[in-house]
Structures are given as C-alpha cells and as structure tokens.
C-alpha cells in the first residue's frame, strides 16, 4: 500500500493506496505533492481517493497545502472518488468550495 503517480493526457494522477489517510502519512504525502509541483512542474493534478475510508485533518491539511502551492503556479488540484464519510467531511468542512470533486475519472480528466 502506498501512492502511485501516473500521467494521463497531461494530467498527473496521484492515487492514494491507504485506507486510513492520517497524520502518520500526511507528512510524506505533502512531501510527494511538493516534489511533484516544485521539481516535476506539475500543474494539473488529480488526487484519487477511492481507497480512502478515513482522512484526518492532517491529511486534508496536506492536500490544502498542496493546492496552495499549485495555485501559486496557476495550476489546480482536483479530487476523485470520495467514499461517503470522506465526502461528507469535504461537505461539512466546506472544502467542496475549494476543490472540484469528481466521481468519474474521465469527467475529471476532461475538466482540466
């Protein structure tokens, strides 16, 4: 279980292979995002969270930090495949106003 990074039609797809995305892995994940943005010049990023059953505040914070960094270079991070509790968390914390969220990968890729 880990992360996988691939590129489809110019969009960098980051899939999270953890069921629990928590403080333990948030730092490592943030480093990965920052590396992709800073060193690989990624501007279009899609984070696939369909495996994730629970994402805590550290992990959500890491994604938001990534978004802040990528918006500085005029890029965007979009989110794919939220399980119901995680989706509810995006709604309740109003993060859905900050991220575009998709259920379907093709729709997400097309939206960039």
């Amino acid at each position: 279980m880990s992360y996988s990074v691939s590129e489809i039609n110019g969009v960098t797809l980051v899939s999270i292979g953890y069921k629990r995305a928590t403080a333990d892995i948030a730092k490592e994940f943030k480093t990965l995002l920052f590396d992709l943005i800073d060193n690989k010049n990624v501007q279009k990023m899609l984070i696939d969270m369909k495996e994730v059953e629970f994402a805590d505040s550290s992990f959500l914070g890491a994604i938001v930090s990534g978004l802040k960094k990528i918006t500085a270079v005029k890029g965007d991070i979009k989110i794919l495949g939220l399980q119901p509790p995680v989706r509810a968390m995006f709604e309740l914390t109003r993060l859905y106003k900050v991220f575009e969220i998709f259920d379907n990968r093709d729709d997400a890729l097309k939206s960039f």
Binding site: V64, T71, P85, A88, L92, T93, R94, K97
Partner: protein
Amino acid sequence: MKAMILAAGVGSRLMPLTLTIPKPMLPVANKPALEHIVNLCKRNGIQKIKMNLHYLPEAVDKYFRGGEDFGVEISYSIEKNLLGTAGGIKRIQSFFDETFIVLSGDGFTNIDFADMLRFHKENNSKATIAVKPFEDTSKFGVVVTDENKAIKSFQEKPKKEDALSNLVNLGIYIFEPEILDLVPAKEVYDFGYNLFPDLLEKNIPFYAYETDAYWSDIGSLEEYWKVNLDIASGAVKDYADYDKEVAKKIYVNTSSKIDKTVVERSTPPILIGKNAEISKGVDLRGPVVIGDEVFIEENAIIENSVILKNTYIGKGVEVKKSVVSQNYHMSVANNFGTFIDDDAVLKSHFIIPFKTKFNQFLIRSTDRTVAFFALLFLSPIFLLVAILIKLDSKGPVFYKSKRLKSPAIEKKGSKWYVYFKEKPINYYVFRTMYIDADKRVKELKNKYDGGPFVKIENDPRVTKIGNKLRKTSIDELPLFWNVLKGHMSLVGVWALPIYEAQHLLDKGMKGEDTEEGMDLTDVAQLRFKGRPGLAGFWQARGRSNLTAEERALHDSVQSVMENISEDDTDYLGEYAEFKSYRGYLKMLFETFKSVVRREGAI
C-alpha cells in the same frame, strides 16, 4: 401521453439534507419536489406516471403509493444498479406504448406540456427537448438548432464566449415510443451522452421546443434555497396554492397559529405550512418559507431562510440566509442567542440526547478535576516563573488576553463580523512581552501577512524569559485557571484574541498583500463553531511544522467533528468517535504525549 419521472438521484451535493430524504422528496415550498411534478402532470392531463427510484425508494413509495391521493396512476421501477437516463426507461419499455414525456424529479418547473406536445406533433418530431434561453450557459448543456428549431448539435457547459447558442437543455423530453428501440437493453445508456448523438447521426426528426416557463434545478443547496424563496416571492405562476392570505403576501395554513403582532411587523413574502406555531415578538424577514409543524419561540429572527418541517427554534435564535433541515431542535445554547450564519445547513434530528449530555458532563468534570490538580501541583513552578518574570522586565506577572468564549459571527456583504453580544472573557497567561506590546501590535500588523496564525520569529516585543516560556508553552499554563472556571475545555479549538478572529474572518487565509490564490475563508470560519479549548488537533500533532492552512484545517475539522449529530455517528464512523468521552480522553493523552516529547527535545 404518459410520463416518466426520473427520480433515482442520490443528491450528494445536497448533503446533509439528503442523508435521510432522497432528493426528489425534499420539500419545495412545503411540498416534496416530486409532488409538484406529479401535480403538473395532472394539470396537463397526464394519467399514467412511471418513476424510477434508486436511493431511499421506500420514502417515495410510502408518500405517493399508487397515486390514488393525487388523482393519477403511479407505478415504480426500482433500479438497484443505475442504468443511466435512457437505460432506466428501456428496462420498462412495455409501459411506453404511446407518446411520452420524460421529466427530472429534481428539476422544478411550470412548463406547459400541452403546448410542447402540440409543437412535437406539428413538426412530426420523434424526440423533442424543452429548451430555455439562459444568459450564462457555462453550467448547462446547450442545444444548437437551425431556424426551424431542428437540433443540429450539442455543447456541454460551454463558456459564454464559446457557446454557439443560448438555449439550455432543461432535461424535459417528449419521445415517440419507437425511440426506445435505439436504446440497447441492460446497459448503462444516457440520453445526453449516447442517445442524442445517435439520433443526430441517423437523421431522425429531433426538435427543440423553446419555452419561457420557470425552471430551476434543485441540485445544489443554493439552488434549493433559491427555488423555495422564488416560489414564496410569487416568481413561479400557479404555485402559491396556500390556504389563507392573512396579510399581503403572507400565506398561513389555517391549521397554524401565528401571533398577530408577528404578522404586523414581518416583511413579506412568507409561506407557513401546516400546524406551525409562531410566538410573539418573532421577526420574519421575507422571503421566508416555514414548513409544517415548525415551532418558533419568542423574539427569534428568521431572514431569507427555509425552515423544513418539525423543527423547533428557541427564544432569540437568529437564522439568516440558511436552510434548516427537518426535525431540528435549535434552542438557546447560551444567554445571548444562537446565531446561524450564511450557508448553514443544519442536519436532521438534532435533539441533544442524554448520551451527549452525559458525555458533556463527564468532559466538564474531567476538565475541572484535571485543571484543579494541575494548578495545585504547578503552583511551585508558577511561583518560580513569577519571580523570573519580575526580575526580567517591568510589569505584571500575568497578561490578560480578551477573547470571546464562542464568538457569534455574521456576514454583511462580503465581510464577516464578530458579534459582540457577549462579554469578552479574560484569559490569563504569563506575560511574555514588554508592557507596551499591545500598543505596538498595530504597527506590527503588517507582519501578520500569512494570516493570524503565523507566529512572528524573533518578535522584538517578546522578553528574554518570555521567549523561553513561549517555546516550552509554560506561558499558557495559567489557562488552567480558565479551564477551572469553565471558560474553556482542556480539549478544543484555540480561542483567538478578538483582533485575530476579526482578521481571520475578514481575510480568510489570505495575507494582507496577496489577494490572489485560494480562499479558505469559508473553511476557516468554521472554527468558531467549536468548543474553545486548551489543546486541539494541531497542538497535538506537531504544531510548529504546520503551514497556516494546515492549522486552519485542523481547527475546522475539529469543530466539525465536535458537532457531528448523533444521527450521523454510524454513518460517519471514525469521524464521530472524537465527539465521545473516549475521544476526548484519547485527545488529552495525545496532547500530553506531544508536550512531553517536546519538552524532552529541548
């Protein structure tokens, strides 16, 4: 003509309203959205209606049954696996043995079917789409036609400048039954993606019927809120069928009680459902829609809002520009009134149950017990620190920081304001700055560029001993006194000084000089809903390496998790655990561990 109503949507964008009610059953002006559509069918002479259902189907079935109470025949097709708009109809093809109309269960309209059918027949059309001109097409599917309204092509959500037409597809279709022969069986098949391109390719007569009828989706909370208030305002013809107009544009069902003075002082338009009770002194600032069995106590203010049924609103509660969900129990949590801000969505069944009360009691008792013993054991250290502060610089030992226990906030225009209805509380910490520091805060304000959470490195206002106290967090230990007094809990969201709270609300997470970039204001202001406390998520989870955004996220998530309703605990699983006494203890332990670890590192 027969009708097919597509009512299988989950309504995930309308969460949490749709946690317990499927989207088509959400009340629009006090009736389920579907009922309006069924009535519209009946008014247009349609007798036989089929609905496809998927999410919480029993709620629809229970309400409409065979349609006997609504003067039509209703039958259902329950889709365990969604088949797409066209695939769902193909499944029940035998029902459609004559011309039929397809309507969306979550669109709201007063379109004239009879006229649309006339247009369909006149043009010998096999498939007709209802369209309406829209100024901004960027959220809709656009239909491009020739001068005879024959459809030539489609565009999906084009920007205004790219749009080849301003005609938006309303999701209302009239079809001839043979159209269904083009749809493959047992496959996910969609009108927009699959069938319509096929019709164009095969040159089948395919027309757009232009209408100026009212139409709105209820897919998002904002749209849902707007449709309700539009109907109350009379923007939709034929929909204000309320029993009694007690004053101009104030409609009250005869079974409801409303105090006379309320009618006199309130601003129309107002719709009030069945068996509601509105007490004296209540100020209703229309447009307002109040559902069945809603009870509003004295001096409450409801402005620009939709209150769904069976909700209790206590004395002096203010609800503005909000949707309050069903079965909500909102009473005065404190003596200065409860304030529901913009875009608030309150979930169902929010009656504080005994278990929660008992948890709160345990948490408060633990807070006070721990604080008492902490103060007792720490008193020798306090004495020592007091001497050191006195020796280091001139001034008092303690610093009083004025904070709001739980600041109410309000949005006016684009700005947020902290509500000063309560008296600020003095929070006691050890003085770590020179005594004229407060005066210098204004000059230093520009340094708070990253938002209010940024700690200034090598702040010249901080004394030498102050610096050490801050690093070790010893300066905060006197806050146990505030915990003992019940001003704050051991575990909660850090209470911000008033000017920092104001800054956060005004600027969100943006700095003074960076107007660009993302705006976390909506997310960050959620923190004010949380219980104030000494230690929260970010204090426990590596405080110093976090960016301002991460800290804001920690605070907001914590606030949200604290406020998860009992009803959603199963659904939200691990997220809801934090609310319990066990979660509180876990958090307390985590913070303690992190403090010890930090002390060890110094």
